[in-house]
Amino acid sequence: MIRVQAMPFDAGGELNRFAAEVDGAGAVVSFTGVVRDVAGGLEAMEIEHYPAMTEKALGAIRAQAVQRWDLADALVIHRFGRLEPGEGIMMVATAARHRRDAFEAAEFLMDYLKSRAPFWKKEITRDGAAWVASKADDEAALGRW
């Protein structure tokens, strides 16, 4: 399942629901991305996205993961709009018969979400606002898949 939303999500509740709905999975892995503080004091993070492309891109990334690993299911939630420090930005959860598939697929989903899903982060500090630059490491991370 893919969800793109402005509203906060409850990572624990989402994970419990996800785990309860999959059959025959011996392994459930999840990752939650959280807005962290930055030098200068982060007041907020603004996430812009490209609505017409977002669900399409996330759906394609999820479909690739499901095809490549033996997954019972995969969940992706990503927020947009204004977020405060400490709030969850996104989460992925994967369920599989065996843990290796669940771990690898979750990492694959994270690596692709970072560089191939149309979201852009802007950090608002007391000193002003700045778009987060992409990292060469994030692009390089795709190479291992």
Binding site: G33, I47, E48, H49, Y50, A52, M53, K56, A57, H78, I89, M90, M110, L113, K114, S115, R116, A117, P118, F119, W120, K121, K122, W131, V132, A133, S134, E139
Partner: protein
């Protein structure tokens, strides 16, 4: 066609979307045309290696043809996750 801008590209150009009538054959031709319009476009498109483009919501290259394309989007590398 609809041309969309996101993140700092949108800020530099000063609008999120516009309807552009063009006979540009490729994305690169369209970029060249936009650059010639005004300083704010020239600034936004100064270095296309810092930009990404999507055609009808799919990532594409700058040499991709525009024939049949309805929506072009320009943006910096994505920073999701």
């Amino acid at each position: 066609m609809n041309v969309l801008y996101f993140a700092w590209v949108r800020e530099r150009i000063g609008l999120p979307v516009e309807d552009v009538t063009t006979s540009a054959a490729t994305v690169a031709d369209l970029v060249e045309e936009l650059r010639g319009r005004e300083e704010r476009y020239a600034a936004a498109f100064a270095d296309t290696s810092a930009l990404r483009v999507a055609l009808d919501q799919e990532l594409a290259e700058f040499d991709a043809p525009l024939a049949g394309v309805r929506e072009v989007a320009f943006f910096p590398p994505m920073t999701g996750g």
